[in-house]
């Protein structure tokens, strides 16, 4: 029995479902909770309010489908035929309830992926898909049936259409996507309209208004927070940021936001293929690094190779400046520390992977001399495998919940990671901002290796 609570909101309002109530974002933008226990639902007024607010959203979610596709489903026609006055008939109220229950339940074990056409990050996407399929298989699900993949052009309408099909026709339990801004926007909208959980694999795409959209992506905000905390502890007042053209700057943006103006950031970009460009970018900051008040930090958002080059340039130019070099997971390689570079000693970087020995056993990890390093080929693969692993465990867990589709998000957001050995067990699967919880590690260069701080 599905109990709905409906709150009146603006046109295209969102529905936030629970087993006992639904929260609606009203016209003023605030969330309004309405108790929709069966007793309340038996009330004609409640039924009328539900029909008045739910049907436009559902109709909007059906809009991308063709007439033929709609004809294949019974409830689109019913929704179209619903009238507020139908609530006055007890029988009709029962039909309405049945249709809503059908729409929002979808107790399938299917997880769908809406992905851009092949190209670009294809290898990464395939790695994620392979990991999901692999883990589904190990859990006893046939991945051919349980994992649906839709390739969609990077435009919003196509993404909406694909999502509508997956939600209304294929009856998937959740959708993974958002690898382009258009896709992310479409999926968030559909999540809000249909109470379908959506897992956005994106660093910075905005989540929808409802709890149905969640982010499954390495924890940039946590990484940023760890770096900023360290900067503050080290007395850093001026941080100099270097990154290549077309770099993902989300981490840096988050850091700046978290610094609350206590750290001044000065950034320079360069063309990684042109040494002169790098030298020029670094040189333009040398004077300021050398005269920084407090300990200057240099944040390098680039791979270990470029880190060594930039550190070389700065170190040879400012040998007596106690610069704190810092970076992200791109630093992590034996090539960062072998051969030893005195200039790099004490440098720090953050990562969402700790010891490679502690990875989920479903991720094959080549053994190297150090638990903190793996092969270059494996390192990038593992990053995406962990994302795939996270998606798979969430999908499997959703299936295990055995709840209606609209309840999955709530359950995921209220459960701890006990079912996933890699993620912090005591933490909720998602935090209040609906970001998937990830472990965060900080490493320090020490001799010819790194140590975990």
């Amino acid at each position: 029995m599905l109990w709905l609570a409906i709150a009146v909101g603006a046109t295209g309002c969102a529905i936030i479902g629970t087993t006992s109530s639904i929260e609606i974002i009203n016209s003023s933008g605030s969330i309004e909770a309405i108790d929709l226990t069966p007793r309340h639902y038996r009330s004609i007024e409640h039924c009328e309010a539900a029909v008045a607010k739910i049907t436009p959203s559902l109709e909007a979610s059906l809009a991308p489908l063709t007439v033929e596709q709609r004809k294949l489903m019974k409830w689109p026609a019913l929704i179209a035929g619903f009238r507020i006055r139908d609530c006055r008939s007890f029988k009709k109220r029962g039909e309405i309830l049945s249709v809503f229950e059908d729409i929002f339940s979808a107790k399938t074990r299917r997880i769908a992926f809406i992905l851009p056409p092949a190209g670009g990050s294809e290898a990464a996407l395939q790695t994620i898909l392979d990991q999901v399929r692999s883990e589904f298989r190990r859990e006893g699900y046939n991945p051919d049936n349980a994992v649906l993949v839709r390739r969609v052009e990077r435009n919003r309408d196509d993404a909406l259409k694909a999502a509508a099909q997956l939600i209304h026709m294929d009856r998937v339990a959740m959708i993974v996507g958002g690898l382009s801004p258009e896709h992310a926007s479409a999926l968030s909208q559909m999540a809000d309209q249909t109470q379908t959980p959506v897992l956005l694999v994106s660093a910075n795409a905005p989540l929808g208004k409802t709890i149905q959209s969640m982010r499954v992506y390495p924890p940039l905000k946590r990484l940023a927070n760890r770096l900023v905390d360290t900067f503050k502890t080290q007395g850093v007042k001026d941080a100099f940021v270097f990154y290549p053209q077309n770099a993902n700057l989300e981490l840096f943006h988050l850091m700046r936001g978290l610094s609350n103006d206590r750290i001044n950031y000065s950034e320079r970009t360069y063309n990684p293929d042109k040494p002169e460009s790098i030298l020029s970018a670094v040189k333009s900051q040398l004077g300021r690094i050398g005269s920084a008040s407090g300990r200057p930090a240099v944040l390098i958002l680039d791979n270990f190779r470029m880190v060594r080059h930039i550190v070389n340039i700065i170190g040879t130019s400012l040998p007596s400046t106690p610069t704190l070099f810092a970076g992200n997971q791109q630093w992590r390689s034996p090539a960062l520390v072998v051969p030893r570079d005195d200039l790099l000693q004490g440098a720090i970087f953050v990562d969402f992977i700790g010891s490679y020995q502690n990875l989920p056993d479903r991720i094959e990890t080549p053994i190297t001399d150090s638990e903190y390093f793996t092969t270059a080929q494996a390192a990038s693969r593992i990053d995406y495998q962990i994302i795939g692993h996270r998606l798979a465990t969430l999908g499997v867990q959703a299936a295990r919940f055995g709840v209606n589709r609209h309840q999955i998000a709530k359950r995921l957001q209220s459960t701890r990671n006990s079912w996933d050995s890699y993620f912090p067990k005591t933490e909720l699967a998602f935090d209040v901002q609906r970001e998937s919880s990830w472990p965060v590690f900080m490493f320090e260069v020490s001799g010819e290796t790194i140590k975990e701080l």
């Binding site: 990050s121 990464a124 958002g178 690898l179 382009s180 992310a184 956005l200 694999v201 994106s202 660093a203 910075n204 795409a205 992506y217 390495p218 290549p244 770099a247 993902n248 989300e250 990684p272 040494p275 002169e276 790098i278 030298l279 040189k283 791979n303 270990f304 190779r305 470029m306 060594r308 080059h309 930039i310 070389n312 340039i313 040879t316 130019s317 040998p319 997971q329 791109q330 992590r332 390689s333 034996p334 090539a335 520390v337 072998v338 051969p339 570079d341 005195d342 190297t368 001399d369 390093f373 092969t375 270059a376 080929q377 390192a379 990038s380 990053d383 995406y384 994302i387």
Partner: protein
């Protein structure tokens, strides 16, 4: 019956003769009154004590003559070494009565005065050999009766004080014989290219004819006149009652071969010989020592065969230099023409002895000795100094070095082919002569330490405490560069270079002799480091900028050097037994342009020199691998063991191994720099 005219003439001549004798007596009186005779003993002493001038001669280490120092070209020939034919020819044409008169042949004198009386001029000298000697040795050349009178008197005294043989010996050794030669010893060399002892009668006769007018009868300039004069001498010899000392008829028929004469100073090792003069002065502690004509014997370390190979190598590779020179001088903005030069210096690493030295490509055109006097930037040839520090600090050839763009107070070294931001093994950085890794290493280990290391390896030129020193940015000599490589070739032990083995005076007294005890070996580097470094320098040949001589890589090691803006082009290399350094550059320090990069100019000279030595038996044994080192073939880019790679030595405790760091770099390069870069969802 005599005619009245004849009687009148006889009377006239009698009067003239009487007047002349009266004049002589008057002159004698005048000379007496002037105290001339009081100084005769003093004058004679000059001759009796005369030391016949003799060139100081420079020999190579095997006793081959390679140079001479002289004011006038002499080769002292003792009388007993001078062929009888020479002596007799001389006497026949100059002074047939030499052994009969007492210095003056009065008949001849009489004829001479008669000549003066009749013609008013002194047509005939009437001088004996003794008189000519006196005139040449003690008097001026003015043609005055008073000088003649004095000549007569002094000749008389000379005869009283010196034996006839001594007078002859002095005469034969001191008289000018044209073409810069004094004495028959020198003339024999100058005209016939052989020692005087080996002269034939025909040749002796020709030389004898030169005493009268050496320029007129100069065989090189005027061979027909010389031959004509030789015939006169032979005729005189035949007509004299002197022994013939050979078949005059055969001598007349003998075809004389005049050999063009080039002073030995200009043929074998001119720059070396020129330098040795100052070395001798230094060793004898006498800056004003006049070596010329002293008859010293100076035995040097030079090896004539090596020197000739060096000369040939420089000469054969001059054409490209001239082409380059022409090209440079085409620039209309040039104020002074450039001269593109080359030089070669070779030494023995085990002793420090200099065995070959070519100070320039043409001594006649330029006497400037570029091996010792030119102060040039050694460029990359200096880099091994820095690498020895890195090896000493524990780096191995397989270690990766990050080549980052560098700007040290405006000093921005560049690498060839734009490798300004990459990572290479230490071995590749050396083999490909990359600048920025070396500068980084120097910065890391300290410029002060680099300079001290260079000094310990033998660099004597001043090095400023600046970063540029690491890549040879200072003025050095070839001796400095030679010292660096000699130290490496000698297992890290430095010996001072030297060039003089022995100096003897003309009496055979040893004035100086090189003693190895005075050149104690200095251990500049641990032998292990020297071996490691040498193996790296072998890789330069097999797989680096010296690949033009890759075939020598099994027994030779070396390094190219190009200074800033390609102003200097070097190659310094060595085998187990020799170190050779070659240099090409403009005297005006012009950029040689792209042509001077890498191994274009200096290496071919080095190559030809070494190939010649090897063809002539220079040992080509490979170096033994020291017990504590192991030879391993590695990938030049990543330093991991590789079946097809470059061989270098490694300490047994630090052998190269499969490196994840190297693999990561390789993967990163192949993946265009993408590594754990999360770009999903952007």
């Amino acid at each position: 019956m005599t005619s009245p005219i004849r009687r009148t003439r006889a009377g006239f001549f009698t009067i003239i003769l009487g007047l002349s004798l009266a004049g002589i007596l008057a002159a004698a009186g005048y000379l007496w009154s002037e105290g001339v005779f009081e100084s005769e003993q003093e004058q004679i002493a000059k001759l009796t004590a005369a030391i016949i001038p003799d060139n100081s001669v420079v020999f190579d280490r095997s006793g081959n003559k390679i140079g001479e120092y002289y004011s006038f070209y002499h080769i002292h020939a003792p009388l007993d070494k001078i062929p009888k034919a020479m002596v007799n020819s001389l006497l026949a044409i100059e002074d047939r009565k030499f052994f009969e008169h007492e210095g003056v042949n009065w008949k001849s004198i009489g004829r001479a005065f008669l000549s003066v009386a009749t013609s008013g001029r002194m047509k005939q000298g009437g001088s004996t050999i003794t008189m000519q000697l006196v005139k040449n040795y003690l008097l001026t050349r003015e043609k005055k009766v008073s000088r003649k009178l004095r000549e007569i008197i002094l000749s008389y005294y000379v005869e009283k004080n010196l034996s006839k043989e001594r007078i002859l010996e002095l005469y034969l050794n001191t008289m000018y014989m044209g073409h810069g030669a004094y004495g028959v010893g020198a003339a024999s060399r100058v005209y016939f290219g052989k020692p005087v002892e080996q002269l034939t009668l025909a040749e002796c006769a020709l030389l004898a004819g030169l005493f009268q007018a050496p320029s007129l009868y100069d065989p090189h300039k005027n061979p027909s006149a010389a031959i004509k004069r030789q015939r006169i001498v032979l005729d005189a010899l035949e007509a004299s009652k002197l022994g013939l000392s050979g078949d005059v008829a055969a001598a007349r028929k003998q075809s004389l071969e005049f050999k063009p004469w080039t002073p030995v100073n200009e043929t074998v090792a001119p720059h070396f010989v020129s330098w040795i003069r100052t070395e001798v002065e230094r060793l004898l502690g006498d800056d004003e020592l006049m070596l010329n004509d002293k008859g010293y014997k100076i035995t040097t370390t030079l090896d004539k065969a090596f020197q000739e190979a060096a000369n040939r190598a420089v000469a054969d590779n001059t054409a490209p230099l001239l082409g380059l020179q022409e090209q440079i001088n085409k620039n209309p903005k040039r104020k002074q023409p450039e001269r593109v030069e080359s030089a070669l210096l070779a030494s023995d690493p085990k002793t420090g002895a200099i065995v070959a030295m070519v100070g320039g490509r043409n001594f006649r055109e330029s006497q400037f000795n570029r091996t010792i006097a030119a102060r040039r930037s050694p460029g990359s040839a200096f880099k091994p100094v820095v690498f020895t520090l890195a090896l000493e600090k524990g780096m191995t050839w397989a270690d990766l070095v990050f080549v980052s763009p560098i700007d040290v107070r405006g000093f921005r070294p560049k690498n060839h082919k734009g490798d300004d931001m990459t990572e290479v093994t230490l071995l590749k950085a050396l083999a490909k002569s990359m600048n920025t890794p070396v500068v980084s290493l120097a910065q890391k280990y300290g410029i002060k330490n680099v300079i001290e290391r260079a000094q310990s390896m033998g660099v004597k030129s001043e090095m400023p405490p600046e970063t540029g020193v690491a890549i040879g940015g200072f003025s050095s000599t070839m001796l400095d560069v030679d010292a660096i490589y000699r130290t490496l070739a000698n297992d890290g032990t430095r010996l001072e270079s030297y060039a003089v083995l022995k100096i003897e005076d003309r009496q055979g007294q040893v004035l100086y002799e090189y003693k190895s005890e005075s050149n104690p070996p200095i251990q500049a580097l641990a032998p292990e480091i020297a071996s490691l470094m040498r193996s790296g320098l072998q890789a330069v040949l097999t797989s680096g900028t010296g690949a033009a001589v890759a075939g020598m890589g099994s027994y030779a090691a070396g390094k190219t050097g190009t200074s800033d803006d390609s102003r200097d082009n070097w190659f310094a290399g060595f085998t187990r037994t020799i170190v050779a350094t070659t240099w090409v550059g403009g005297d005006g320090n012009s950029s040689l342009g792209d042509a001077a990069s890498g191994s274009a100019l200096a290496l071919p000279i080095w190559r030809q020199f070494m190939e010649t030595l090897v063809a002539n038996g220079l040992p080509t044994d490979p170096w033994p691998v020291p017990e504590n080192l192991t030879a391993v073939s590695i990938d030049l880019d990543y330093g991991v063991p590789a079946d097809i790679g470059v061989v270098a030595l490694f300490p047994k405790g630090r052998l190269p191994r499969k490196s994840q760091a190297a693999e990561d770099i390789r993967a990163l390069k192949q993946d265009n720099g993408s590594y754990r870069e999360l770009k999903l969802g952007n």
